[in-house]
């Protein structure tokens, strides 16, 4: 038997923080590729500490639902899971290239394949692009459009900016958008000055965050001037300094992210059958280009759902 464990942050205060985790877990469940699929959290239950014992499978694939390598993926999760002999060097990563390490755990007779976070997987690039398609409702969005990928910046760990830059560069190489720019909340180049980095009329802004919350629903919209007060919501698109800004909200809410979870497990040796193809089919846009996303913005015309 094999199990997929999705390790996310969660929240003591905000019930919506775990929504993307549950949504992607359910998408993976539907494929039937794993005997067991389990969500686990740092701030909710089951806690990282107690998740392994809830599983019957001997082979467990743990994928951190985090954007970058760093404090959580290198210290907190391995420690709380009791990964024996863990050392960040086992990932042999440059900050964005962690794939997998196979270890035993201290409290059960299980083999854990500890995978790199979703945020640094190559297929995350596709999720960002699809997020742009979703928010614009345009399957072919790119020409005449600029794309900003927004991250936290240095925060607690240096790798958070690396992940943003990594995908920005990969999208740039595809030559799909007129311009692609990495922007940050707490370092240069700053998201506040978004319009200064683009010559195109249309700018799609995709924050590289897992869940919608304070940063994506309050800070960034206000910093960019989409609204003076996040509680009043904003339009998609909103006009700022003569540019139309298509603000996408957290990339982690894009249904295609479930595909990255599977890719991570597949890279680590999980047997998936046709699950990857099925997930891609079910979570990418159909021919009509109609987004199947449950994006809060698509539903609420820019008003944060947490606001109701």
């Amino acid at each position: 038997m094999q199990a997929l464990v999705i390790a996310a942050h969660g929240s003591h205060l905000n019930p919506d923080a775990s929504d993307p985790t549950y949504a992607h877990a359910d998408t993976v469940r539907e494929t039937g590729a794993f005997d067991e699929v389990r969500e686990t959290f740092w701030k909710e239950e089951p806690h990282f500490r107690e998740v392994i014992r809830t599983l019957e499978s001997e082979e467990i694939f743990v994928v951190p639902l985090f954007i970058s390598e760093g404090y959580f993926t290198e210290q907190v999760i391995p420690r709380e899971l009791r990964l024996e002999g863990w050392n960040p060097e086992k990932w042999d990563s440059d900050g964005t290239s962690a794939t997998e390490v196979t270890l035993e755990v201290g409290d059960a007779e299980k083999t854990v394949h500890y995978c790199g976070p979703v945020g640094t997987h190559d297929s995350m690039t596709d999720v960002i692009v699809q997020r742009a398609e979703t928010v614009t409702g345009d399957h072919d969005v790119g020409e005449g459009v600029g794309l900003a990928v927004v991250g936290h910046g240095t925060d607690r760990n240096e790798n958070s900016a690396k992940a943003i830059e990594y995908h920005t560069e990969r999208i740039r190489e595809r030559d799909r958008f007129d311009a692609v720019q990495a922007l940050f909340m707490d370092e240069e180049p700053e998201v506040d000055d978004v319009t200064e980095y683009f010559e195109t009329d249309d700018i799609v802004v995709v924050p590289l965050f897992i869940a919608d919350g304070y940063h994506t629903q309050e800070d960034i919209p206000e910093d960019m001037g989409l609204t003076d007060d996040y509680r009043l919501g904003w339009d998609v698109p909103s006009t700022v300094d003569g540019h139309r800004i298509w603000y996408a909200g957290a990339v982690g809410t894009e249904p295609l992210l479930a595909d990255v979870l599977l890719e991570r497990a597949s890279d680590a040796g999980a047997t998936l059958g046709d699950a990857l193809e099925r997930i891609r089919r079910d979570t990418t846009h159909n021919d009509a280009g109609a987004p199947e996303s449950d994006s809060s913005h698509a539903r609420t015309n820019g008003k944060p759902v947490t606001d109701s």
Partner: protein
């Protein structure tokens, strides 16, 4: 082929691979193409295969044993798993001796015939605020297959039509997320599970999944406790392991841990029974509570609160002078009690006899506050 015939055939196949002994039935091939069969009331040997088959399908006394064997050994499986132990607990089935070391005394197990009779009407169990009923899927044509119903203990007497009927375990996540008043429940074992819903006709796996969404990891830890191998991490271990912003919690004074446990880890706040102590052999003062599920280490909520208290406890105490009447002094205690006991919303608007009444509190603030703070002077020694 009837369900019983299928079960008998499967049982015979198993007996050819080795002796079968399960919940009171014993069947063994003696190598001469004959079999020995026994239950607490029947003892037969030298049975040829054809005769044995007739006995197993024909004797009413044997049917509960055969069906029971088939349900657990073929349909359910999972020998040694928490899932199986929990489902067996649900219907008072005997568990292996190593699974009952920590069992509650008086938890008598039932024999297959006793359970057969009871499963027709349903066997009720409680798991925290959950009422669970195990019953036969089909009483008219019983093949031994169990299904489970699960709802809130407070709804025991509520008609099903008045409840939101659910059958998908994932729906339990929504139920567990907010309390009766729509407030978020960050602690899943807080005794604030809302009522008004019912899962019906769940399979064993679905029941375990449902319970897993409502009370995560409780089955796994209960199972470890029943086997006498619950791995408890005491406060000093958990505190020492923390990093980042929680690094400070090991500075929380020993004495403050007692207050923390009294604040958070009591039955009125949490259905888990605190098994962790300050350190092995160094117990905290408050009792661990009578909760049904063992708590094997400080949870993330307690760790987050401990961080706050560790920071607050680093302040030095001072002595303040302020003017209050006796009633006002008592009112401060009323206010603290009302908040601590979660009573604030129950105090009626016009009940000015209650010190924690909103008008009383506003009056006190109007009278004794200066610039948004209690008007007091720090006394210099």
């Amino acid at each position: 082929m009837t369900a019983l015939e299928t079960a008998v055939d499967t049982l015979l196949e198993h007996a050819d691979d080795g002796p079968v002994a399960f919940d009171g039935i014993r069947l063994e091939s003696d190598g001469e193409e004959t079999y020995t069969l026994s239950t607490p009331t029947i003892e037969r040997d030298g049975l040829e295969a054809a005769v044995l088959r007739d006995v197993l399908t024909g004797l009413d006394d044997l049917e509960p044993y055969v069906r029971n064997w088939y349900h657990w050994q073929v349909r359910t499986g999972g020998e040694g798993t928490a899932r199986r132990a929990f489902l067996r607990w649900c219907e008072h089935a005997p568990r292996s001796t190593d699974e009952t070391q920590g069992a509650e005394p008086g938890d008598e197990s039932l024999t297959p015939p006793e359970r057969d009779a009871a499963l027709e009407t349903g066997i009720d169990r409680e798991w925290g605020q959950l009422a669970i009923t195990a019953r036969f899927l089909d009483n008219d044509d019983p093949n031994g297959e169990r299904v489970y119903d699960c709802w809130h203990v407070d709804d025991a007497d509520t008609a099903l039509e008045e409840l939101e009927v659910l059958d998908e375990p994932r729906d339990a996540r929504k139920i567990a997320t907010t309390d009766e008043d729509g407030r978020y429940r960050p602690l899943k074992t807080a005794p604030t599970l809302r009522s008004g819903w019912a899962f019906t006709g769940l399979s064993g796996q679905e029941l375990v999944d449902t319970v897993g969404f409502i009370y995560p990891a409780t089955i796994a830890n209960w199972h470890r406790e029943q086997r006498g191998n619950l791995d408890v991490d005491h406060w000093v271990d958990t505190a020492a392991r923390q990093t980042g912003i929680y690094d400070v919690i090991d500075e929380l004074p020993r004495e403050a841990l007692n207050w923390l446990a009294e604040a958070c880890c009591v039955d009125s706040q949490c259905l888990r029974r605190r098994e962790w102590e300050y350190d092995a052999g160094d117990d905290l003062e408050p009792a661990g509570g009578d909760g049904p599920f063992p708590c094997r280490e400080p949870c993330s909520l307690v760790v987050a609160a401990a961080r706050k208290w560790a920071i607050l406890e680093s302040e030095t105490e001072k002595t303040y002078e302020l003017e209050l009447t006796t009633s006002e002094w008592n009112q401060l205690a009323d206010l603290i009690d009302a908040v601590a006991d979660g009573r604030v919303d129950d105090i009626r608007e016009a009940d000015v006899n209650d010190g924690a009444n909103r008008y009383r509190a506003r009056y006190l603030r109007a009278k004794r506050f200066d610039d948004g703070e209690l008007d007091a002077r720090e006394r210099s020694e």
